[in-house]
């Protein structure tokens, strides 16, 4: 699992140090309130809020690489957390009337924190627009991280099925058919046995990138299973789909993949099949696609023999 903890030790340490400093200053300056002055509801509310803020900080630090946006978000949430934390301590401690800094420590960090958080969120929004641009051809208008494939930077079969259902709805409204290309690698099992499964994984990652580059802006590529990929081509007829499929086959044939262990070139090839779809369920479409692929594989074998 990729984790960014180790880049953020300093940030986390400074937040914890600040919290401790606040606690120490209260302990030095004030005295503990008597038990009957504790207000349970306030303690729970403020303590819980402080804990939530700290959990947000942890989630952000765990999931984001270091950078400007991360620093802003952490600093903002850090201030919010500190303010809530001081509020929480206030419930237990009685400070002399003459002191005013406790009030300052409670109230000032909150607006500063919210300001920093807002700036951070604005830049995060800009960053997300950039990432969306990079994610094109891998997702369409809808994101569900549970449907990400675990090996390649593509979405999985579940996401594809969902998209096919959406296209079917669109077909019922506009009568525009869509096409699918299924791509299966030839002799991938042999490659796994000869070069090892780790090399096979890398080949799948490389091929998925290559296929993406050979598709149009509005097409969607998903990994169906194993060494099998499916491209969803909205608003596309059979002829165009076949042309695209042939282009994919050519692209993989001319792809000079270098193995990681010895850097030798591995020759790859794929078999592609297409089918056009309209008002059918995702299962029916995929069923037809699988039989088209089986037919195409047999044709390839016959040509080779």
């Amino acid at each position: 699992m990729l984790s960014y903890w180790k880049f953020h030790r300093l940030k986390l340490l400074s937040i914890i140090t600040c919290a401790h400093a606040g606690l120490l200053s209260y302990l030095l300056a004030g005295a503990l309130k008597p038990l009957d002055e504790f207000v349970i509801l306030d303690i729970l509310g403020e303590g819980g809020s402080a804990m939530m803020a700290f959990i947000w900080i942890c989630l952000i630090l765990k999931s984001r690489p270091a950078g400007r946006v991360t620093t802003l978000l952490t600093a903002g949430l850090g201030c919010v957390f500190f303010s809530l934390w001081m509020d929480f301590l206030d419930e237990f401690m009685q400070l002399p009337e003459a002191l005013h800094w406790d009030h300052w420590l409670e109230s000032t960090p909150m607006p500063i924190g919210l300001l920093l958080l807002t700036i951070g969120l604005y830049h995060w929004h800009r960053e997300q627009l950039g990432l969306n641009q990079q994610m094109r051809k891998r997702e369409r208008l809808f994101r569900e991280h549970l449907h990400f494939d675990t090996l390649t930077p593509l979405s999985s079969a579940d996401y594809l099925k969902r998209q096919i259902e959406l296209e079917r709805k669109r077909y019922l409204e506009t009568q525009q058919t869509f096409s699918l290309i299924v791509v299966d690698m030839n002799d991938f099992a042999v490659l796994n046995r000869v070069h090892g499964h780790a090399e096979g994984d890398r080949v799948l990652q490389a091929v998925s990138q290559l296929l993406i580059m050979n598709l149009r802006q509005h097409d969607l590529l998903c990994r169906l299973a194993g060494d099998r990929f499916v491209a969803l081509l909205p608003n596309t007829g059979t002829f165009l789909a076949q042309t695209l499929a042939q282009e994919l086959e050519r692209a993989v044939r001319h792809f000079a993949y270098k193995s990681q262990s010895h850097g030798e070139t591995l020759t790859l090839s794929i078999t592609a099949a297409v089918c056009i779809a309209g008002d059918e369920s995702a299962e029916q479409v995929l069923e037809r696609l699988q039989s088209a692929l089986a037919q195409a594989k047999q044709d390839t074998l016959r040509r080779a023999a």
């Binding site: 579940d158 299966d184 099992a189 499964h197 169906l224 299973a225 699988q290 039989s291």
Partner: protein, 338 residues
């Protein structure tokens, strides 16, 4: 014949478990989470001396399934398991002259080649059927095991024969939502809710020579494998052992007591052992008679009356009721595959 039980340390950790560990580690799973509850440490696996019990291996499989949480885990594991690196049996398998020899070796050395799910062979004039018996009480891992084992044999045959063999795959479970994984890894000849976990192929493929075989090396490896097997003195898992005993006498009525006598243990010990493996006498006995009945229908084409008579039922009504209990359906709807 000596059997192994669920809690006996009989599976070398550097054999099948190591394949699973490699797969999980290559997908970024942390060692300690993968091996939680198995009493196993990665250093022990590397030392190459540790053995784990079927129970712990099953736990390891469950952990991997849960942590990887991808529908292709069983299929990816299946592609790595055979012919494997499990001593002389693996070597003999990789030099098998043809499908017949490979499957015979697989069945003979199933304790080391497939310790959790036992492969068994049955054939008629046209077809050969390799079916699987849960030998250690897989429980909830059953479907995962069925997927893994059938992929294992299909992938091995493809590698050693150099071609795609036209297997039919039968699964006792219902069609899962990730059908595309089955299609990509096994092919399009899939049958779910089939009452049995089995793979079937036409007999003409049995004796087609395989290109990788080296006859002399293969014969020596086969001899060594037999020696190794004799030294380990373990041929099958407890549940499969019972299955085999009951199947051999399928025409005679059997009971917990008669089976205990055959095994040389007391009925209460037998009951306890069955319970440990997550099952009971009636379940195993029903499974045996169901399999026999299916074989008689599918392969020998017998009628209801003949099957009932073969299994010692006095009238067909009784038999039909029993069959409904074993399978959830009446005999007439089970059509032969071919």
């Amino acid at each position: 014949m000596i059997w192994y039980e669920r809690d006996q340390r009989c599976i070398p950790a550097h054999h099948q478990p190591a394949c699973l560990i490699d797969l999980a580690l290559s997908r970024g799973i942390e060692q300690h989470r993968l091996m939680r509850g198995t009493g196993l440490f990665y250093d022990d696996v590397l030392a190459g001396q540790t053995r784990i019990s079927p129970e712990h291996f099953l736990r390891l499989l469950q952990n991997a399934e849960h942590l990887l949480s991808a529908p292709d885990t069983s299929f990816l594991l299946g592609q790595r398991l055979l012919p494997g690196h499990y001593g002389a049996a693996s070597l003999a398998l990789s030099h098998a002259a043809n499908l017949q020899e490979a499957l015979d070796l697989l069945v003979r050395h199933r304790a080391s080649l497939s310790p959790l799910f036992a492969p068994r062979l049955v054939h008629d004039e046209q077809y050969l059927c390799l079916y699987w018996i849960d030998s250690c009480g897989a429980g909830t891992t059953r479907r995962f095991m069925a997927e893994t084992c059938q992929t294992t044999v299909a992938a091995m045959c493809r590698w050693l024969s150099g071609e795609h063999l036209p297997w039919h795959f039968l699964f006792s479970h219902a069609q899962p939502s990730y059908l595309e994984q089955y299609q990509a890894h096994l092919g399009n000849q899939l049958h779910f809710n089939a009452q049995i976990d089995a793979m079937i192929i036409a007999r003409e493929y049995l004796i087609k020579p395989w290109p990788r075989a080296q006859s002399t090396a293969g014969r020596i490896a086969q001899r060594d494998a037999l020696t190794e097997q004799a030294s380990q003195a373990m041929e099958q898992g407890f549940l499969e052992h019972i299955y085999a005993l009951l199947q051999a006498d399928a025409r005679q009525p059997a009971s917990l007591e008669s089976l205990a006598v055959q095994l040389g243990i007391s009925p209460s010990t037998l009951k306890r052992k069955l319970h440990k493996h997550g099952t009971h006498f009636q379940a195993v006995y029903d499974q045996v008679r169901k399999h026999v009945a299916l074989y008689l229908y599918w392969s020998r084409g017998l009628t209801n009356e003949e099957v009932a008579d073969y299994l010692g039922f006095h009238d067909t009504t009784n038999f039909r009721r029993a069959f409904k209990r074993w399978t959830g359906c009446v005999p007439s709807i089970l059509k032969p595959l071919a």
